[in-house]
């Protein structure tokens, strides 16, 4: 087995298994541990700049990746007009840079604000480093190897589907440049870290709030019966 197979053909399955199994266990049996672990009480200003930038940047870029994964043909059609390609690339790059800056702000904040440091675990730092690597390698890929949105459907979409359909084709990644390989590998690291960190908060987005009534009243006795 060579490195390519190990990192891009085997490790993804370890990461995915951890992400699914441990997250499910944690949600079901350790619900008290599931939390976004906000540190806003302890520091506000730098969180404002860091958190908003990192989150909006990441959420939108991730949604973009998801679209490219689900409807690669649509992406290619969209890119058929050069102006639209430029628009997409510039937006993507902008969001990526925004996320990068935001993550940097959050990492330095966590390291330098004494109160936030006191409330941090090593996992909190690790998560930020992983995201920083993700954003950095992503932005570099976008800058150096134009145009991502053009070749993603040709390389990444088949690779990711090959993993999800249990017919891994790691060789698709083998010839990609270093930064891009790092970006892909780092995503699997992200998934492996996911269930053991505060990252689980991502799947607890409370969209149901839009529908639920304002007040919640519970009969404790009736629950007991």
């Amino acid at each position: 087995m060579n490195w390519n197979t190990l990192l891009f053909g085997v490790f993804p399955y370890i990461a995915l298994t951890l992400a699914v199994v441990v997250t499910a266990y944690r949600m079901a049996y350790r619900p008290f541990s599931v939390s976004a672990q906000s540190s806003q009480l302890l520091e506000q200003k730098r969180l404002f700049y860091g958190s908003i930038a990192m989150h909006w940047g990441l959420v939108l870029v991730l949604l973009g990746h998801l679209l490219a994964l689900l409807i690669p043909k649509g992406l290619l059609l969209w890119n058929a007009v050069p102006l639209r390609l430029y628009l997409l690339e510039i937006t993507g790059l902008g969001l990526g840079l925004w996320a990068l800056v935001g993550t940097w702000v959050l990492l330095t904040r966590r390291l330098s604000v004494a109160r936030v440091r006191a409330a941090s675990t090593s996992m909190d730092y690790l998560v930020l480093v992983v995201i920083l690597v993700s954003a950095l390698s992503g932005v570099l890929t976008a800058l150096l190897y134009r145009f991502g949105s053009y070749w993603f459907p040709a390389v990444m979409t088949p690779y990711l589907w090959s993993i999800f359909t249990l017919q891994p084709r790691p060789e698709l990644i083998a010839d990609l440049p270093f930064w891009t390989q790092l970006h892909v590998f780092n995503f699997w690291v992200f998934l492996a870290v996911f269930p053991f960190s505060r990252l689980v908060h991502i799947i607890t987005v409370p969209l149901g709030y839009v529908l639920r009534p304002w007040q919640i009243v519970i009969w404790v006795r009736k629950l007991a019966r």
Partner: protein, 511 residues
């Protein structure tokens, strides 16, 4: 009519001595833990003053409670979609400095310091970072200095007061203040519940206690901002919100809440109220000056056969109905109309009630009387104290603790509700003073009693419940039938001494 039962507490402010025993009882029982050091589920404020967290009543900044506009009742904090968009950063959240940096003292220095010329001291250290610090604020930082212009001027309740009256409040040798103990109000229309995107906070139908489900809470911390009383706290170590639980484990075992039980001044009462859950929205949707009336309107008469029948139809047992009939809260709030919710204008329909204070009422009046006699300064009045009572009664609008101030606290500025309550209390005081000190009651005192709208029997009942109640009269606790409750699944001994929350995994943060 949908009858439900509610456990309510009543604070008789005329008796509060500001000793903080309640706060300590609660702290020792529930919040003496990592991440909770800064929390005071029960706190006592000196008023006028800025309170804890500092300036909590400033809703332009903290966005707590509900807003009633154009026939709609909306959270001041956010609409549902806005709430989702503000998850990453909640602009209205208070920061730890709005409360205070919790501190302890490094007592070990007292033992380990090397021998020297000076007495060793225990330096203050932050309970968050462990670093040496200089405390610059605390939960009772302005204790007893409430009248000083430094703190008191920031009190939002001073709005609408004449500049002259405001100046008098902080006059040298004439400083006036009162105490305001606060716990969660276990509201009927809670802002905290409505603001939680996850739906982790709920109100118990059986007794109205508002609780945070620690397993569901995800640290979106909207509740902290949306509670206008700032009575939800975020635990930075566990990443969960926490609040006063009305000591439900004590209530369920027939004991009064710790803060009430420990109260030295015996100012706290505990009892059942029946209310009509169907009419909650309409009670919260009336103009400011009618809010107290509308809230009292949905609190039901426990002697009314119709109410009793409806209560039984809802499955409320006889023990609770009986407790509601004996409830001291019902008497103070509905029968005698002596007590009010705190800041009804927040429209959360707070279910803890306050009897406004009377004690410091006299001195402005003394001054006014002195001036009319051509005297100045601190000359004692030569009218007998008993007559002074009558003078106060006649001119409450010039009272030392301005009626407007009390109205801003308890009736959304509606003085016409506070004045009758103060008059009743004064009338009882005059009557009982004459009875016990002068051996007989004068015609004048009886006229005052009548003017205040009280019969002799009522006056006697108010007097007894105010000054001489036994423990059982202060705390009329209903049978919880714990044997039927969900909680019997859990081993109380295993939970005792944990945290009251039953951690599965102890919090590791901040170790």
């Amino acid at each position: 009519m949908k009858v439900r039962t509610h456990m309510s507490m009543l604070f008789h402010l005329d008796k509060c001595i500001g000793c903080h025993t309640c706060s300590i009882a609660c702290k020792n029982l529930w919040t003496d833990r990592k991440g909770a050091e800064y929390m005071w589920w029960n706190n006592v404020e000196t008023r006028p003053g800025a309170g804890y967290p500092t300036g909590w009543e400033d809703q332009d900044r903290f966005k707590g409670g509900w807003e009633y506009k154009d026939g709609h009742l909306d959270l001041r904090l956010h609409s549902r979609t806005q709430g989702l968009f503000r998850l990453f950063f909640n602009p209205a959240l208070p920061s730890i400095d709005d409360y205070y940096d919790p501190y302890t003292f490094r007592y070990s220095d007292l033992f380990t310091s090397p021998e020297g010329e000076d007495q060793p001291t225990a330096v203050p250290v932050s309970m968050i970072t462990g670093e040496v610090m200089t405390p610059t604020s605390g939960p009772n930082w302005d204790d007893d200095l409430g009248g000083s212009p430094l703190y008191a001027q920031n009190d939002p309740n001073l709005k609408g007061l004449d500049p002259e009256v405001r100046a008098q409040l902080s006059e040298i040798e004439g400083v006036v203040f009162q105490y305001l103990p606060r716990i969660c109000n276990h509201c009927l229309n809670p802002g905290c519940v409505a603001a939680c995107p996850t739906g982790a906070i709920y109100k118990r139908a059986e007794d109205g206690v508002v609780l945070v489900n620690e397993n569901k809470c995800k640290a979106w911390r909207m509740c902290v901002a949306a509670c206008p009383y700032k009575k939800v706290y975020y635990n930075w170590a566990t990443g969960k919100s926490e609040k006063c639980i009305l000591c439900f484990p004590r209530l369920e075992t027939g004991q009064a809440p710790a803060c009430a039980h420990s109260c030295v001044g015996r100012i706290r009462y505990m009892g059942v109220l029946l209310y009509d859950a169907d009419r909650i929205p309409e009670a919260a949707m009336v103009p400011d000056d009618q809010l107290v009336e509308s809230q009292l309107g949905i609190i039901l008469d426990p002697f009314d056969p119709e109410v009793i029948a409806a209560a039984k139809a809802e499955g409320i047992d006889d023990g609770w109905i009986k407790a509601a009939q004996n409830s001291p809260i019902y008497k103070f709030v509905k029968v005698w109309r002596l007590a009010f919710p705190l800041h009804p204008e927040y429209r959360t329909l707070a279910m803890m009630f306050y009897v406004p204070p009377l004690s410091p009422v006299v001195s402005t009046l003394e001054k006014a009387l002195r001036a009319s006699q051509g005297k100045e300064g601190l000359v004692r009045l030569d009218i007998p104290e008993t007559d002074l009572d009558f003078e106060v009664y006649e001119s409450l609008e010039r009272a030392r603790m301005p009626v407007k101030y009390l109205a801003n606290l308890f009736t959304a500025g509606n003085e016409s509700l506070v004045v009758p309550a103060l008059k009743k209390m004064l009338a009882v005081r005059i009557l009982k003073r004459q009875e016990s000190l002068e051996g007989g009651v004068t015609e004048k005192a009886l006229r005052v009693l009548q003017d205040a709208g009280l019969t002799l029997e009522e006056a006697e009942a108010i007097y007894r419940l105010t000054t001489l109640p036994t423990l059982e009269e202060r705390f009329v606790l209903p049978p919880y039938h714990r044997e039927m409750a969900a909680e019997v699944w859990k081993d109380p001994l295993a939970h005792k001494g944990e945290t009251g929350f039953g951690y599965i995994q102890p919090p590791l943060r901040g170790e």
